[in-house]
């Protein structure tokens, strides 16, 4: 048997992910600051965890992670659903509209953040302010006054196509006879949506929301570019907080503890969502 053929991939993944995670666990129980190498590595047990969990900045990072993920996933689900319904109904030019709508998802996150921050949100030269000025509003400095909202707008713009993609695939797998029968029976659009389309799409919503949660929880680029976690740490999420502990404070132990806590939170959320959504996802497998 060619079973050995899985070994190289498994070994590589263990070397690059499992092994470092074990080391992260080990480091998280120690105090070690790279700025003071002579102090070396000191065992401190759970002290790093206790300090982090008591730290208002770290707590804010947890709260921000939850808010960013939740708002982005819910908003992209609703908006992506709307787009998918429109695309599904289109007769002419569907392929072109599909390609255009997909585009934001393909832009690298630092480009979209730089472009939105400078060319659209800029308080003086930004297009948004020019447009607001035309109708007698503004000036706005969204990144300055509502930094979290600014980040979310960019993230939602970027991830809406992802949800649209998945839900459109769902709509297109809806058996045509079912729709036609319902239409013949005189089902109104609202009833169609409620009793046929939404129930059919449930597994697709589940998959899309699960994947988006996993992919957006560790969001980093938009925060790095739009606010760098500021002002005063108010837009940091967990990933950014660990990045700051490591690359600015050189606190290896605290950063490792933050990494472990992030992993625990991610696993907990994913497991919960999987359990909650599994019936919906598996029903489709039939």
């Amino acid at each position: 048997m060619g079973r050995w053929m899985t070994w190289p991939a498994t070994a590589y993944l263990i070397l690059m992910t499992q092994a470092p995670f074990v080391v992260t666990l080990y480091l998280s129980a120690h105090k070690w600051n790279l700025l003071y190498p002579r102090r070396g590595l000191r065992f401190v047990g759970f002290a790093n965890y206790r300090t982090l969990l008591a730290d208002p900045i770290f707590r804010m990072a947890i709260a921000n992670t939850a808010v960013f993920t939740l708002v982005a996933v819910l908003a992209t689900s609703v908006l992506g659903f709307g787009l998918a319904l429109l695309l599904d109904r289109m007769r002419a030019g569907k392929g072109i509209a599909y390609a255009l709508l997909l585009a934001p998802f393909l832009v690298m996150e630092t480009v979209s953040a730089v472009v939105w921050k400078n060319m659209i949100f800029h308080p003086i030269y930004g297009l948004l302010n020019w447009a607001a000025h035309l109708v007698g509003l503004g000036p706005y400095d969204i990144v300055g006054t509502h930094p979290a909202a600014a980040i979310l707008i960019v993230v939602i713009w970027q991830w809406m196509p992802f949800m649209m993609l998945i839900l459109l695939a769902g709509l297109q797998s809806l058996p045509l006879p079912l729709r036609e029968a319902a239409a013949l029976d005189g089902a109104r659009p609202e009833a169609m949506l409620r009793y046929i389309i939404v129930p059919h799409l449930k597994p697709f919503f589940a998959v899309g929301m699960l994947l988006e949660t996993i992919l957006l929880l560790p969001m980093f680029g938009p925060i790095y570019v739009m606010t760098y976690g500021g002002p005063a740490y108010t837009t940091q999420n967990l990933t950014f907080e660990v990045f700051r502990l490591l690359s600015q404070q050189y606190e290896v132990g605290s950063a490792a503890a933050g990494g472990v806590l992030t992993a625990i939170i991610t696993i907990a959320v994913t497991t919960f969502l999987l359990r909650y959504m599994r019936p919906a996802i598996e029903r489709r497998g039939g």
Binding site: M16, A97, V115, A169, P218, F243, G259, T262, T266
Partner: protein
């Protein structure tokens, strides 16, 4: 379902209007790259201007952009090759010898993909600096292979399982080795899948930012890091920034348009197993 013609037209118009609105920031970036710096900063914005390719040409002449672009191409290319080298044999086993062990292997691979980067970045950056892998292309390639393997296994297992089992079984009866079956039959029959998967790994590696910014500095950094550095020159060189941004995302647009179908089927079909 029958629709009145007016509704169909209305749906098309509304969809295109939204699509153009969504696309606007990208379109505007492309246009700004064709402007002079004064026009780029002008308020009210200049919609009619004499387009010039100067900024695009300058990006390639000035060396800085070019070196980041070169880094990205080399790193992404090697990452694809490495992910395939390790991921394809595994996908072969998963597709043709399914079972509980194969399932748990796949689950393990996917779970590594979904592990947050901060859970591993601390030891990796320390080990990298001890091994002089920090700020090297090799360092980023090794990390990107890690991210690519699960994607290759996940997507290629699907494409491989579409090959009729009878073909494989009959060749096996003739005594062909696994290596021979893999190279001579399975791979040639899955070329469309290989292309799609290759593009998806490319998109992911090309856009990856977290590891790039943590593990690479001036000499090995990729385009996402270069684009983020435009923050420091905020408000000064928007035309130049836009030209660089357009060039940085162009290869991904091409790859994305080719691979989008595969992305959807990979995400939705695979999810039911």
């Amino acid at each position: 379902m029958r629709q009145r013609a007016s509704v169909t037209v209305l749906v098309s118009i509304v969809t295109f209007a939204i699509a153009l609105l969504m696309l606007f920031p990208i379109l505007w970036t492309f246009l700004t790259g064709l402007k002079s710096e004064t026009d780029a900063l002008s308020i009210p914005p200049v919609f009619w201007f004499v387009p010039s390719l100067d900024k695009y040409i300058y990006a390639f002449q000035q060396g800085e952009f070019l070196s980041f672009f070169y880094n990205t191409v080399v790193i992404v290319g090697c990452a694809i090759a490495g992910s395939f080298a390790l991921g394809l044999p595994a996908a072969y086993v998963l597709a043709f010898f399914p079972g509980r062990r194969a399932d748990s292997m796949l689950f393990f691979a996917l779970s590594t993909r979904f592990m947050p980067g901060v859970a591993v970045i601390v030891p990796i950056s320390i080990v990298y600096s001890r091994l002089h892998l920090i700020d090297t292309r090799l360092g980023l390639i090794l990390m990107h292979i890690t991210l690519g393997i699960p994607m290759v296994m996940w997507l290629m297992r699907r494409y491989f399982s579409e090959i009729p089992k009878e073909i494989i079984e009959s060749v096996m009866l003739e005594g062909a080795s696994h290596a021979r079956i893999f190279w001579r039959i399975v791979l040639p029959l899955s070329i469309p899948g290989l292309v799609t998967t290759g593009f998806l790994v490319m998109i992911m590696a090309w856009n990856e930012f977290f590891f790039a910014v943590n593990l690479a500095g001036r000499s090995a950094a990729t385009l996402p890091v270069f684009m983020a550095s435009f923050l420091t020159t905020e408000g000064q060189t928007w035309a130049q920034m836009s030209a660089a941004a357009t060039l940085a995302i162009l290869p991904i647009f091409v790859a994305g348009l080719i691979a989008s179908r595969g992305l959807v089927s990979g995400l939705t079909n695979g999810a039911s197993h």
